[in-house]
């Protein structure tokens, strides 16, 4: 009797918001990867906006691009973390100040006098041996790093406004192998952070970063690290061995997952979901592929560099008793270096300030014959060669330019991406961080699409039209990012749901991407369309929606706004679920095609687009997977 009274009381109190229920989780949009003038490279690229300006931008205010135009968000963000490079944090601004000791640094006078784009590139190149620790640096001043870091933390605390806008404390741990094989990750803190960030100058081995994170967690400072640009890691990000080449064991897998529950799937430097070479049957795989190792012209090895492949590797390792080091959820972020992310194709300012500030520098607008003949072209073309010469590092040579008349630049393969989504009870540091740890997150290629995914046993198709869908789904199923314990002889039910961005194109289709390890130990994958715009049915043989004939006019960038869906929903059961096979399932939702930023640049300049770049883009959203565990 007494128990019943308590239960009734608890039920009455619950809806009052004493403890928010899972169905109250809302999609919050944010930025988890952003550089201000305190990052050595951003400062060299001309950025003079600090953390304060970055947070003002996130809240909807216009700020200045180094080239002198305004940058402003279409809709303000719900949360943001400023993540400057930890190594040499704040040092370059200090070198600019001639009164400081570090202004005597060998590279400082070059930094101070750099005016032209090529001088800026040379200045960047001169920094590289120090960043890469190929030379001793007795002028590295950790007191500058520490006081800059204190300023960054203070700015986050100043702008953090629980319930309205969350400013998280974070930084980038910019590690790599010897020739820029990218192993970068962003460290985000749940609350406060230690007095000094752990940087590559202490250790380039990410396992040591995780040890440090473990140790500060014991002191009550929880953090996660989010790797990015696995596409440029030359296969090292999702390798089948450790940093030192040792075999991966259960302990390594546990430590990695404890510290790295999420991975950035898409950002300005390309999308790392999948490479077309690995998934020839995925006709949407060739999306914003950035083929180079970061800051070089070397091609990045495909194996070990892409996320779908990593999920499959993870399942194989698990089957071999090594644990699964690649059971991470998904998120996107911009990685802008001008303190302001560019998320819209039609309002794109790329990433590196004065170096890629306009269509000509980005290779999207044809050069005039004078520009083409000018020595300028020659200098700009050899940007990495210059860095190479100064830094003594090998960076390779550009491939033959397929579109003479346009500059050939790494940043032609960059794009207006990406946006972070989290399912959080409230807009606070704690709530958002906990959602990240739960992996209840999604990433988009820029637009504000929302996506939900549930799996379980006994989820019903009827619920899709039931206003209580979410409540029921949480009660009987698990959300994105979670494990689903397999039941013998039963095939799990999936509920998939996505809505469009009111400010972007309508949706075209929803897909479920499945990967598993078969009885021979081979990894497999299959893609199922599960919902089609316009009420069309999925072809049972091909598992694809029919073409919805959505087209975009690349001369004007107009598209037909009436074709496509405002939202798409589906109930789905895996037609090929085999007993005993562990599997992952994630959602990919596609918009109708729209103009890519490079086409927008050309349309505005009144010229034809660069024929070697994709003219259109199908913006998309990716959910974190659900893992079926036996």
């Amino acid at each position: 009797m007494k128990l019943k009274t308590w239960l009734t009381a608890a039920l009455l109190i619950a809806p009052l918001g004493v403890h928010a229920a899972p169905e109250d989780r809302k999609a919050l949009f944010g930025e988890t990867h952003l550089h201000t003038n305190l990052s050595f490279d951003a400062f060299i690229f001309g950025n003079r906006n600090g953390p304060d300006e970055a947070y003002e931008f996130a809240k909807g205010k216009a700020i200045q691009h180094p080239a002198g135009f305004e940058m402003k968000m279409r809709v303000p963000l719900d949360f943001q973390a400023v993540t400057d490079h930890a190594m040499y944090l704040g040092m370059v601004p200090a070198m600019f100040d001639e009164s400081t000791q570090v202004s005597n640094h060998k590279v400082a006078s070059g930094l101070r006098t750099a005016k032209t784009a090529s001088e800026r590139r040379a200045a960047f190149g001169a920094m590289m041996p120090y960043i890469g620790q190929q030379v001793e640096d007795d002028l590295l001043d950790m007191s500058i790093v520490r006081s800059t870091w204190a300023d960054i933390k203070q700015a986050a605390n100043r702008h953090n406004d629980p319930g309205k806008f969350t400013a998280m404390i974070g930084y980038e741990y910019t590690s790599s192998q010897d020739t820029f094989e990218n192993l970068h990750r962003n460290v985000l803190f749940r609350g406060d952070a230690p007095a000094e960030p752990y940087s590559r100058l202490i250790s380039k081995n990410p396992e040591n970063l995780w040890r440090w994170m473990d140790s500060i967690r014991e002191q009550g400072m929880d953090s996660i690290a989010i790797p990015h640009n696995s596409n440029g890691s030359d296969g090292y990000m999702f390798d089948d061995v450790t940093y030192d080449g040792a075999p991966i064991d259960k302990k390594y897998s546990d430590m990695r997952m404890r510290n790295e529950p999420l991975v950035e799937i898409s950002q300005v430097k390309g999308t790392s979901e999948v490479h077309p070479l690995q998934s020839p049957n995925d006709e949407f795989a060739a999306f914003e592929i950035m083929p180079y190792q970061i800051a070089t012209w070397y091609n990045s090895r495909v194996e070990g560099s892409y996320i779908r492949d990593a999920y499959k590797r993870g399942l194989q390792m698990q089957a071999r008793g090594q644990g699964n080091p690649y059971k991470f959820g998904l998120i996107s972020a911009s990685d802008t270096h001008v303190s302001a992310g560019a998320f819209d194709e039609y309002d794109y300012w790329s990433k590196i300030g004065l170096v890629d500030a306009n269509g000509r520098l980005r290779g999207s607008v044809r050069l005039s014959w004078t520009q083409r003949l000018g020595a300028q072209v020659f200098r700009v073309r050899n940007w990495w060669t210059q860095v190479n010469t100064i830094a003594g590092a090998r960076t390779g040579n550009p491939p033959k330019n397929p579109a003479p008349g346009f500059l050939q630049m790494q940043w032609s393969s960059w794009g207006a991406s990406g946006l972070a989504g989290v399912w959080a009870e409230e807009n606070t540091r704690g709530s958002i961080f906990d959602a990240m740890r739960r992996k209840e997150t999604f990433g988009t290629s820029g637009p504000r699409m929302r996506v939900r995914l549930f799996a379980g046993y006994g989820l019903e198709a009827d619920w899709l039209d039931d206003a209580q869908l979410v409540k029921k789904a949480y009660q009987r199923g698990v959300p994105m990012g979670a494990d689903l314990k397999a039941r013998k002889g039963q095939s799990p039910d999936f509920l998939v749901w996505a809505t469009r961005d009111p400010g972007s194109a309508p949706l075209q289709r929803l897909q479920i991407v499945k990967g598993w390890v078969d009885s021979d130990g081979q990894s497999q994958e299959k893609i199922y369309d599960v919902a089609c715009a316009g009420g069309a049915r999925v072809d049972a043989k091909t598992n694809r929606c029919p073409d919805n004939n959505a087209r975009v006019d690349t001369k004007t960038c107009d598209y037909d706004a009436d074709t496509g869906a405002e939202e798409l929903k589906a109930y789905w059961q895996d037609p090929e679920a085999n007993a005993g096979e562990n599997a992952f399932y994630y959602v990919r939702g596609l918009e109708n095609p729209t103009c890519r930023w490079s086409t927008w640049d050309a349309v505005r300049a009144g010229t034809l687009p660069n024929p070697s770049l994709a003219a259109t883009i199908q913006e998309r959203v990716w959910s974190s997977p659900i893992w079926l565990e036996h």
Binding site: K26, A27, V75, P76, D97, E98, S99, T100, R450, R452, W463, L464, D465, D466, A467, Q468, L469, V470, W497, T499, R500, P502, E566, E567, K569
Partner: protein
């Protein structure tokens, strides 16, 4: 030669000039000595001891007192040397610190006087746009996938099935009810057309369920539970905040004027670049 010398020695003017030169030399020498002279007097020692006591909560012993004085001497000598080298003009950090000090003086020297109420009210009227509250709606909606379903749902709730409205219609990924939402926030979530319909075109009345209204996502049967008209701010309850804002504004203006006066007392000359 000898004769010339004796003539000069007899000349009083020469004696006068020589005496003057001698005085000048003594003056220069003593000034240089003053420059290299550091006075340690009782008030200074008392100040040093007070600082020490502030930190340690006890008086220094003889040895510690020596160290304190020696420390002061060292600092004083180094500062004088720095000045002699003109470092205060060269070092950007010192220049900034000095400029910052003067900025503080500009702030402190202009504490705003309290205005009378009439003055404050007049200022408030001039700036009332900053204090007015925009129109807001507290509203709910039932989401439908098409217009026909929305009309059917509207008929259903109007016929008295409104109690379980949360269970009606299609699931909606965003909220089903919003409190005190202004037009800008609504436009960002539901699309600009929807917000215009709700706030302006149809100007939904607080009168049960209505609609359907089209959003970026589909069709909605809507109920405005409360309408908060754009509220002109009232002076009395905000007087304290307004007075604070006024004071901040006055301080800003005073500082600006002080700066302008300072700036006007300097003549800025642009040096033309020589043609090569």
């Amino acid at each position: 030669m000898k004769q010339l010398l004796s003539t000069l020695l007899r000349d009083r003017l020469v004696w006068f000039v020589a005496f003057g030169l001698g005085l000048f030399a003594i003056d220069v020498a003593s000034e240089r000595r003053m420059e290299h002279r550091i006075l340690i007097d009782l008030p200074l020692v008392e100040k040093l001891v007070a600082q020490w006591e502030g930190q340690t909560k006890r008086r220094p012993n003889a040895q510690e007192l020596d160290a304190l004085v020696e420390g002061y001497i060292r600092e004083e000598i180094l500062v004088r040397e720095a000045r002699r080298l003109g470092l205060e003009d060269e070092d950007v950090i010192i220049r900034r610190r000095l400029a910052q000090k003067v900025e503080f003086f500009l702030d402190e020297n202009n504490p705003p006087e309290l205005p009378d109420e009439a003055e404050l009210k007049a200022w408030f009227e001039e700036n009332r746009a900053n204090y007015d509250t925009p129109a807001k709606l507290t509203w709910r909606h039932i989401y439908a996938s098409d217009e026909a379903q929305a009309r059917a749902l509207l008929a259903q709730v109007k016929a008295g099935e409104a109690e379980n409205w949360r269970a009606l219609g299609q699931p909606f990924m965003l909220n089903r009810a919003y409190m005190r939402q202004d037009k800008l926030e609504m436009a960002q979530i539901m699309g600009a057309d929807f917000a215009t319909q709700m706030f302006d075109t149809q100007a939904m009345a607080v009168d049960g369920w209505a609609g359907p209204v089209r959003s970026a996502y589909g069709w909605h049967v809507v109920a405005v539970d409360r309408r908060y008209e754009k509220r002109p701010a009232v002076f009395a309850p905000m007087a304290e905040k307004i007075a604070k804002d006024w004071a901040n504004e006055q301080a800003r203006i005073a500082k600006l004027e002080a700066w302008r006066a300072l700036r006007a007392s300097y003549e800025i000359e642009l040096v033309p670049v020589d043609a090569p």
